[in-house]
């Protein structure tokens, strides 16, 4: 058929075209390859790079600011900070260390979760397995343990520093309160983790700790006036904490859920508020210029609130 004949003619035409293209490519291949390789020498100009980082990283003020502002992790920082605040002696870095340890603990904690069953049969054996058979298991558990202790020290020293610099004062009163709650949550995180190896140490520490709960006024069966509300060992606040009247399988599961899910979630929310408020309350408190006693102004009630264009509200000093 003529059409078929015509079709086969077309095919030979395509073949010739491809051959011609290949010949042309052979001529330009060298040049194109050179272009590609040269392009790799400036990776910041590739589409891949630009899609990720959006701004140039040239060493100029605008890009220094943008590199902080356009990164979701870095933008917790302002673009510029008080010159004197970048030195170690004012903040001691304790807040940042606490946050870093929280990240370390999340990371090592997730890895530990892969090897752990929160059941009475398995829990202790899982720790033995971790210590003896899992590659780097012992290191992992040690790091989690010591990072937790270090985090508590760092939180306390952070609070100590904030107190000593008077940074809780106006306008940062509320953020101090958030910080106090975060400190309590940090200690609760550590405490709930104590039971998880299901060994004598954790068992008795949690027994001692939760025995206090049974003495809660009104809500504990041994607490003052607990009988008034009909508290027994089987319905009081200690029962709620342990999921039973003794430290046993349910207590292990509850400690696990609080430790791995509930408290970290609550901490993350409070952390977000804490960091956000540091910025909104005018950034890091100092080192501020010293104020003299002669400069104390008389109290005005109620204190006027000055709204700043950037959205920060600040009480006038």
């Amino acid at each position: 058929m003529p059409e078929e004949n015509g079709g086969s003619k077309e095919k030979t035409g395509v073949l010739e075209k491809v051959q011609a293209d290949a010949a042309a490519l052979r001529e330009t291949l060298k040049e194109k390859t050179k272009q590609q390789v040269d392009g790799l020498k400036e990776p910041e100009k590739t589409q891949l790079y630009r899609s990720m980082f959006r701004v140039k990283h040239d060493d100029e003020p605008r890009n220094r600011a943008l590199s902080v502002l356009s990164n979701v992790f870095f933008h917790l920082h302002p673009a510029k900070v008080n010159r004197d605040a970048t030195k170690y002696n004012f903040t001691w870095g304790m807040g940042g260390i606490t946050f870093y340890l929280f990240i370390v603990l999340t990371f090592t904690g997730v890895l530990l979760m892969f090897y752990y069953h929160p059941t009475k049969v398995q829990a202790f054996r899982d720790i033995l397995y971790l210590e003896n058979d899992v590659p780097f298991g012992k290191l992992l558990r040690n790091m989690h343990r010591w990072a937790a202790h270090l985090m508590i020290i760092a939180v306390w020293l952070h609070m100590f520093r904030v107190f000593m610099t008077g940074s809780y004062k106006r306008p940062r009163e509320f953020n101090w309160c958030v910080g106090v709650l975060l400190m309590v949550l940090t200690m609760l995180l550590s405490f709930t983790g104590y039971l998880l190896p299901d060994d004598q140490l954790g068992f008795w520490a949690v027994t001692v700790g939760t025995n206090m709960a049974r003495a809660t006024p009104f809500l504990g069966h041994e607490g003052p006036l607990g009988g008034l509300l009909g508290m027994t060992p089987y319905n009081d606040v200690r029962f709620a904490l342990l999921g039973g009247s003794i430290v046993d399988a349910n207590a292990l599961l509850r400690a696990y859920i609080w430790h791995c899910i509930a408290i970290p979630l609550i901490v993350s929310i409070f952390l977000g508020v804490h960091f956000w408020r540091v910025r909104k309350d005018g950034g890091i408190s100092g080192p501020a210029p010293v104020m003299l006693e002669s400069e104390i102004k008389e109290e005005r009630n109620p204190r006027p609130v000055v709204l700043r264009p950037s959205g920060m509200s600040q009480h006038d000093k």
Partner: protein, 326 residues
């Protein structure tokens, strides 16, 4: 001297943090006060020279008029943060490679650990159990500590020392915080870690922890010291001597408590009124602020008061009632 016992306590891996705190807290206390005293010197100079106060850079940090007041976060702050993160990682690595996390035998409700200790950061609360019943030591006091910390910004009417280290401008608040944080919280943890042995008995450093040791309890209640046996009340209300004794104790115990509140309030007031500056701050405080501050300080003093009664005068309860005892 049983040095081995001291070493055994101090080298227990879980006690490493508290041993570290023994060095870290004095170091950072010194570090804060050093910078505070430097600032105080600057403040003294500026207070004495009104002209200088207008022109001088009011910080102890180096300053050049040509410098910008602010610097870029990247790299000046973030390089520090990354450096600190690396140092902390290395520290953790070394710590984790050299010391193993403790693991005891499997949990066994039938074998009591002696001493059964809470984690070190809660040992202050456990130590408080010696002085107060669990409902105070384990519930009321921790609540007061948390709420007390949270009210600090709202009761501190001193506008000075906001954002810089100082000692002279904030003597009262610094001493109060030091008393609570170092004097009560950290010290109680140290006692709980190093002093309290089997049976939660007091072992001076160097004394062997002897699980067989028996102490004869000589503790008595305050009403026993005063010989309240209910003979008056039972005769007065024509009830049995036992019933009379209960009510006599309830009524008696109120008086030492009231006496404590009055003495502590006077003490707190005396501290607040000591210097002219603190009197000035006192004038700025509202009634709610004053009542809150006095209440929390009085409750804070109740702990050392009870420690004194218990350890020195071997008194167990001050107020005995059928429902609770203090």
């Amino acid at each position: 001297m049983d040095w081995h016992q001291i070493w055994e306590i101090a080298s227990a891996p879980d006690n490493v943090p508290i041993v570290a705190m023994l060095f870290l807290i004095p170091f950072y206390l010194w570090y804060a006060l050093k910078q505070g005293i430097e600032n105080d010197k600057l403040i003294a100079i500026l207070e004495s020279d009104a002209n200088l106060a207008k022109t001088k850079y009011r910080k102890t940090q180096e300053w050049d008029p040509n410098w910008d007041r602010e610097v870029h976060t990247w790299p000046y702050l973030m390089r520090m943060e990354f450096l600190v993160a690396i140092i902390i990682t290395v520290l953790l690595m070394v710590w984790s490679l050299t010391l193993n996390a403790p693991l005891e035998e499997p949990a066994n409700p039938n074998v009591t650990m002696n001493p059964a200790k809470a984690p070190w950061y809660f040992l202050g609360l456990q130590e408080m159990l010696v002085y107060f019943d669990p409902w105070i030591a384990g519930v009321v006091m921790p609540t007061l500590v948390i709420v007390g910390l949270m009210v600090i910004p709202y009761i501190d009417a001193n506008p000075l020392g906001n954002g810089y280290y100082t000692y002279k401008q904030r003597r009262f608040s610094i001493w109060t915080f030091m008393f609570g944080f170092v004097g009560l919280w950290v010290l109680m943890i140290v006692i709980g870690t190093f002093i309290r042995g089997p049976g939660w008995m007091w072992f001076w450093p160097g004394r062997t922890w002897d699980a067989e040791r028996v102490d004869y309890a000589v503790n008595r209640n305050l009403d026993q010291v005063f010989g309240i046996d209910g003979s008056w009340t039972s005769a007065m209300f024509h009830v049995t001597k036992d019933q009379g004794a209960i009510w006599a104790r309830v009524v008696f115990g109120i008086f030492p408590l009231i006496a404590f509140f009055i003495v502590a309030a006077i003490l707190v007031h005396w501290i607040c009124m000591r210097t002219e500056f603190s009197r000035r701050i006192y004038q700025r405080m509202s009634l709610v602020q004053l009542v809150t501050m006095y209440t929390f300080l009085i409750f804070m003093f109740s702990l050392p008061a009870k420690i004194l009664l218990r350890l020195v005068f071997t008194i167990h309860y001050v107020w005995v009632t059928p429902w609770f005892s203090i």
